[in-house]
């Protein structure tokens, strides 16, 4: 078998191409996918690379099928994944719900496009609510919101590992800019960085003779009694809350003495980082805070950043109309810091947008 990455090397790739390479490096066995922009090139690169490394692909009839074939393949014990966007993400909420209920190690890449409806094929941050709390469940998901191609590579590898270690459906939340943009990154073989790949294992089709060596597996996601489901949901909640502290990731800087903290996620964080540096150079005390995991949310860490800075204002900047702000508000309920926002649904945000907004509210 060919080694995916022989030695650590610099590469200049699109985000979608990065995902295909990272999935190979993470030991993904098979991808199930259905065309939708802006994730198509994940499939394009995967279908070119996968046969060389003995990996599989199936183009399904729709996103519902892509999600459910992933559910079947992971139950059979293979590292399976899919990628989608927009209306495809809507359709996949059904299989994502099955993965939440049955603790299936499903990994999916979401490349956000504009909405509602078909919206645009270009860019947005409008799939935050859907990806974190979509479906008829309670949001038992791990959602990484990436900002750079290096992170796309790192968190794709981590996403497979977290899915198989903790058995929650796990997501890399990107967007059309990250999908299509080309930038440098370092590709590496995870083992050489000391990252151990979690082994895949079957939930069905186990070895041994039934009745002699083992009992049959009977997996289900529907219950006859209210009390049965209550126990299931309470156990899921307890399990999720127990591991959440291990999963939470965030970035912050310049918050210690900040008068205003700029809160962003994903690619918008790059504009926020530039804006904070520019504002500081002008003598304005701005701080930077960015959740990397939107589920579970770095609630305590954000509360602490607010407390230690004594900042009077929190500016939330997002390429949607308040989805990230709603998610944040429910997490930091009770904080008295004044919240300002910059909503630019479906369009990109650059440093000047944030700088101008900061100056208008300070």
């Amino acid at each position: 078998m060919l080694k995916v990455v022989d030695e650590t090397k610099k590469a200049f790739l699109t985000g979608n191409e990065t995902i295909a390479w990272a999935a190979l490096a993470a030991g993904a066995d098979i991808m199930f996918g259905y065309p939708i922009t802006p994730q198509n090139e994940v499939m394009h690169y995967w279908t070119r690379l996968a046969p060389k490394y003995g990996r599989g692909f199936l183009q399904t009839e729709d996103e519902i099928s892509a999600g459910f074939t992933v559910c079947g393949a992971v139950q059979a014990g293979k590292k399976a994944f899919t990628a989608t966007a927009g209306p495809g993400n809507v359709l996949m909420q059904e299989p994502f719900g099955m993965a939440e209920a049955m603790r299936l190690p499903l990994f999916a890449i979401i490349q956000q496009r504009g909405g509602p409806s078909s919206g645009t094929v270009i860019y947005s941050q409008q799939e935050v609510t859907l990806t974190t709390f979509g479906g008829n469940g309670e949001g038992y998901r791990v959602v990484y919101s990436s900002a750079t191609h290096q992170e796309i590579y790192d968190y794709t590898i981590k996403g497979f590992n977290v899915a198989w270690k903790y058995r929650w459906p796990t997501f890399l939340l990107g967007d059309g800019y990250q999908a299509k943009m080309r930038e440098p990154l370092e590709m590496y073989n995870p083992e050489e960085k000391g990252i151990e790949l979690e082994p895949a294992y079957p939930l069905l089709g186990l070895p041994g003779k039934i009745g002699e060596d083992r009992e049959p597996q009977h997996l289900c996601n529907i219950y006859s009694l209210e009390e049965e489901l209550y126990d299931v949901v309470m156990n899921l909640s307890a399990d999720y809350e127990r591991v959440a502290p291990e999963l939470i990731e965030w970035q912050e800087h310049s918050c210690e003495d900040a008068d205003i903290i700029i809160l962003t996620h994903g690619v918008v964080s790059r504009a926020a980082d530039d804006a904070v540096k520019a504002l500081r150079a002008q003598g304005i005390k701005a701080g930077y805070f960015r959740p990397i995991t939107l589920r579970p949310y770095p609630t305590q860490q954000l509360r602490e950043a607010i407390a230690k800075s004594g900042a009077k204002k929190l500016l939330i900047a997002e390429s949607s109309y308040g989805q990230f702000e709603r998610l944040t508000k429910q997490e930091i309920y009770g904080e008295t810091i004044k919240i300002e926002h910059l909503y630019m649904p479906g369009v990109g945000i650059i440093d000047h947008d944030i700088i101008n907004k900061v100056k208008s509210v300070l």
């Binding site: 098979i30 599989g56 459910f68 139950q75 299989p95 039934i210 049959p216 009977h218």
Partner: protein, 250 residues
């Protein structure tokens, strides 16, 4: 006391099963269990069931089993088979799950000649939800959503599943319609459908005509009359496509 012989592949702690008295599911699942025993595939079989009455089979067999959403059994069983081709992947569903909400999956799995075996039980209505019109409800048949009888001018004619699947599958596929009133033939068709997967020839599909006295509101005699004299003339029983015999058994 004489105890009836039960297939070795049945999971005894889940018996007696939960299907209504007079329901045909028990007959289909007995035939399937006997075939699994005869082919000696219990340990490598993955049984997957849909939502609807077929759901009550989720722990019916002493085989590794899974259960999914309404209509989605086909892609789950395809995913399992694609991931582990050495497993025998059996999907079990009703007429609503297969021909209505999951029809795009059924059609495309058939077109792709997926190496899975799908068994679809046709009882002409949605049983679990209380007897609504199904794609297979006969013209004039009364259901909860066609209280004056199904009018094909409004809702179209019943879906003839095996006929359409036979049209879209390539050579190597196995397509048949059986009935719970002809047990030996039902077993033969199920055996062929599994043999076809074991040999890797192609997609295998068996529709089984079945009974639903609870929602039909029929006694034993009327139930059998509806199956044999109303359903079977409308849905002809036989093999529509078989790699084992040219033209198939009529």
């Amino acid at each position: 006391m004489i105890t009836p012989a039960v297939p070795k592949s049945w999971y005894l702690p889940s018996k007696p099963h939960k299907f209504c008295p007079g329901c045909g599911h028990g007959i289909v699942l007995k035939a399937l269990g006997e075939v699994i025993d005869e082919l000696e595939i219990q340990d490598q079989t993955i049984f997957g069931c849909d939502i609807g009455c077929s759901l009550l089979s989720w722990n019916f067999f002493a085989c590794d089993s899974t259960q999914t959403h309404h209509g989605r059994t086909t892609p789950v069983m395809v995913g399992i088979k694609r991931a582990r081709p050495e497993l025998i992947s059996i999907g079990y569903m009703g007429d609503g799950g297969g021909y209505s909400i999951g029809s795009q999956h059924l059609l495309n799995a058939a077109v792709r000649n997926e190496r899975v075996t799908l068994i679809l039980v046709n009882n002409t209505n949605y049983g679990m939800t209380g007897g609504q019109m199904a794609p297979t409800t006969l013209p004039g048949q009364k259901t909860e959503t066609t209280p004056y009888g199904r009018d094909p001018e409004i809702t179209g004619y019943p879906t003839k599943g095996p006929e359409f699947i036979a049209q879209v599958t390539p050579d190597g596929a196995y397509v048949a319609r059986a009935t719970v009133s002809k047990y030996k033939q039902l077993k033969r068709f199920l055996r062929n459908a599994l043999r076809n997967q074991i040999e890797g020839n192609g997609f295998s599909f068996v529709e089984v005509l079945s009974t639903c006295p609870t929602n039909w509101r029929t006694n034993a005699q009327q139930t059998w009359h509806f199956l044999e004299d109303e359903m079977e003339p409308y849905f002809p029983v036989g093999e529509l496509k078989s790699p084992f015999s040219k033209g198939g058994e009529k």
